[in-house]
């Protein structure tokens, strides 16, 4: 039986008259990478803040290691919030040491870990530089350093790649995979579905505070069918809503068969209609398509 490191049961939260989360339940297992998805304003950040006891839930249970999170557990946690900043007038090593100490390391150990991290991200020479003198990319590395300084068992990252350039985004993904290999459990929220497909084991997607999708990434994709037809073509794609719906751009189209229609029927229909098909494949819809579809429902 899998060990639940995060348990959310029947969680609800309102701000004023607006219900932000309505009876939400899901779990994150120890050792997995879990993607927490939803459009802007869907309630992801509120859920994370309630999980970390920054906000108080109205109803339900939000547990980490089977207990309500308290800052006494901060030694196992690495949290990177969506809205993140740094003490601009402090030096890099002062900040890393301070947060290391708050996460239970001794001042000496925190400094050692801080310097190690700076070497790992190739900005060791910035240790004694004030944060306001760093580039935004370097500041993002420091924010991540604060999150990782205690080698946390549980990482909660709220849109960690927001504002990162492709190089830093790639670097972050690699680092998360590395930490996961070392045994860290990772929950992260994102709008980048390719990241989810790349690293996540399971996912949950919420919309308007309600759980819409939940399970292993492949399972979720399979639920949305295994028969999306992707084609590269030349000519004019005929419309036939009795057979399929489609999205098309630059001579590339994704066609979703209507219920009871086989992909082979559609290919035959397109060929008979005179469409020049250069390449086709039948497969699952991408997470991006699923995300858009669920969000628009």
């Amino acid at each position: 039986m899998k060990n639940e490191i995060i348990t959310i049961k029947n969680f609800s939260k309102s701000f004023g008259d607006k219900k932000v989360i309505d009876n939400l339940s899901f779990s994150v297992y120890s050792g997995e990478i879990f993607a927490f998805l939803g459009a802007n304003g869907s309630g992801k950040t509120t859920t994370i803040r309630c999980l970390l006891d920054i906000y108080k839930p109205d109803e339900g249970e939000l547990l980490i290691n089977n207990q309500r999170y308290s800052t006494d557990q901060s030694n196992i946690l690495g949290y990177l919030p969506e809205e993140r900043g740094l003490y601009l007038n402090s030096t890099v090593i002062e900040i890393l040491t301070y947060f290391g100490e708050l996460k239970g390391l001794s001042a000496k150990e925190a400094k050692i870990q801080g310097l190690k991290y700076l070497s790992r991200v190739e900005i060791a020479d910035k240790a004694n530089v004030k944060v306001n003198k760093l580039s935004s990319g370097q500041q993002q590395k420091i924010q991540l350093g604060i999150t990782l300084i205690n080698r946390p068992k549980l990482l909660i990252l709220d849109e960690p790649t927001k504002g990162l350039d492709p190089v830093n985004r790639n670097f972050l993904m690699e680092m998360l995979l590395e930490l996961n290999k070392e045994g860290s459990t990772i929950l992260f929220s994102t709008h980048q579905m390719e990241e989810v497909e790349k690293i996540a084991d399971r996912l949950a997607m919420i919309k308007d505070g309600n759980l819409k999708l939940y399970g292993e990434v492949n399972e979720v994709k399979e639920k949305f069918g295994n028969n999306v037809i992707r084609i590269n073509y030349k000519g004019k794609l005929p419309e036939n809503t009795e057979l399929y719906t489609y999205k098309s751009e630059n001579y590339y189209a994704e066609l979703v068969p209507q219920e009871g229609i086989k992909p082979t029927d559609i290919i035959k229909y397109l060929a008979d209609a005179g469409l020049e098909i250069h390449k086709f494949e039948v497969g699952s819809p991408s997470l991006n398509e699923i995300f858009i579809k669920v969000s628009n429902e």
Binding site: G16, R49, L52, I54, S70, T71, S74, L77, Y79, L80, P81, E83, R84, G85, L86, Y87, L88, N89, S90, Y98, F99, E101, L102, K103, A107, Q143, I146, T147
Partner: protein, 412 residues
């Protein structure tokens, strides 16, 4: 090390490591010392110049025209028989002699001197300060002349060093009226000013900085709001203790080095004594009043989106808390008057007013009990509102919180 201690350490060193802290701490006393030295030096210089001028004019005679008939010529006869004054009969003649620099001074005592006419003094020019070198002598000669006309026993009585001793009573209780009793409120007032002007300002900056720089959420995932606020307040108290210690050491050094010249007239430092209860109560009032203001600063810092906005909003509260200093003379003159009574029970001003009244010994036991209970209640309300504002506003990055929504959330 507890998380609160880690925060205290950070908050303390963050301020103490700043050059501006040392400039602000050392500049004020240094400025006072420099001003005192300069003014002392100037006064000494003026006195020396006067002495030198008089010394140079020692052999010459004072010209006197006495129409008041109050001057006794005998007072100008020196022990060796020489006379240091020459009496003349014409005012213009005297003025001309001064113009011709034949004598250094001519003093004219008009007839109606007792009715308010002025003694006229004509001197040869010795500069702005030197020209008044005979002013006190002209009056002194009148006094000396009058004394010489008195019988011998009255002359002794006149010359005797007379002193006073005042005792005041409030009902059966005798009130201490010595100026030394103002030392205690003055010392605590100084600490209070440092607390309100420096510590609360640093505290506000610290809370605002975390909100404005969006660090608050990371911090709150690691520490409880209670630990964070306590750590910040204690860190600033540590800063103030450092400032008070520095000022104390500097003051002690100044008093030690200049003890003979700096002791204010009538102030016997050796006579300063306070009761343990007075000191304890003063500490209690200072801490509580600072704590209330500190809570206000935490609340304002959490409610406002930027330090700048928080600072301008907080000015109102700082002004109210130092308002009693505008009434200080009334507080000292009428420590149980209506203004003192009202300000004693007003949340932000009560601490400092009670401090004064306690040092002046006018607080009845009932007033001490009622005011202490009220201060504790105010402190509790301030802490409660600070926590609620912190909870409600600290993550509202980039926008002012709506106080309407805030009070709605409290009611819920």
């Amino acid at each position: 090390m507890s998380k609160t201690t880690i925060i205290v350490k950070r908050e303390y060193f963050k301020v103490v490591k700043k050059p501006t802290f040392w400039v602000a701490t050392l500049l004020l006393p240094l400025f006072i010392v420099i001003i005192s030295l300069v003014s002392g030096f100037s006064a000494q210089q003026a006195e020396d110049t006067n002495k030198r001028n008089l010394e140079a004019e020692k052999g010459s005679q004072v010209l006197i025209l006495d129409e008041s008939n109050l001057i006794n010529p005998k007072i100008f006869i020196n022990p060796n028989g020489t006379v240091s004054a020459r009496f003349i009969a014409n005012k213009d003649e005297g003025i001309q002699e001064i113009k011709d620099a034949k004598e250094p001074v001519f003093v004219y005592y008009p007839k109606d001197l007792v009715q308010g006419a002025k003694i006229e003094i004509y001197v040869t020019d010795k500069g702005l300060f030197g020209n008044s070198r005979y002013d006190s002598y002209a009056i002194d000669w009148i006094n000396q002349s009058i004394i010489t006309n008195l019988p011998a026993d009255l002359q002794v009585a006149y010359k005797a060093q007379l002193t006073t001793e005042t005792r005041a009573f409030s009902g059966e209780k005798e009130i201490d009226t010595s100026p030394t009793k103002l030392i205690l409120p003055a010392a605590f007032a100084l600490i209070y000013i440092i607390l309100t002007s420096f510590a609360t300002s640093y505290l506000l900056m610290s809370v605002s900085e975390e909100k404005e720089n969006r660090v608050m959420e990371i911090v709150l995932s690691n520490v409880k709001p209670r630990e964070l606020i306590t750590g910040k307040i204690l860190g600033q108290v540590g800063v103030v203790i450092t400032q008070v210690l520095i000022l104390g050491i500097l003051s002690a050094l100044v008093v030690f080095v200049f003890k003979d010249t700096l002791t204010p007239v009538g102030l016997n430092i050796g006579a300063i004594s306070f009761s343990f209860e007075q000191i304890l109560l003063s500490i209690f009032y200072t801490i509580l009043s600072f704590f209330i203001l500190a809570c206000v600063m935490v609340g304002v810092g959490a409610a406002m989106p930027t330090y700048k906005e928080a600072q301008s909003f907080s000015t109102v509260f700082v002004m109210v808390s130092i308002m009693p200093f505008y009434f200080v003379s009334i507080l000292i003159a009428e420590p149980s008057g209506i203004i003192a009574q009202v300000l004693s029970y007003f949340p932000l001003s009560s601490g400092i007013v009670l401090l004064f009244r306690n040092a002046l010994g006018v607080l009845s036991p009932l007033e001490i009990i009622v005011s202490s209970i009220l201060l504790v209640i105010y402190a509790y309300i301030a802490l409660y509102l600070a926590f609620k504002l912190f909870e409600f506003g600290s993550l509202e990055y980039g926008r002012k919180i709506s106080f309407k929504d805030f009070f709605k959330s409290i009611r819920r």
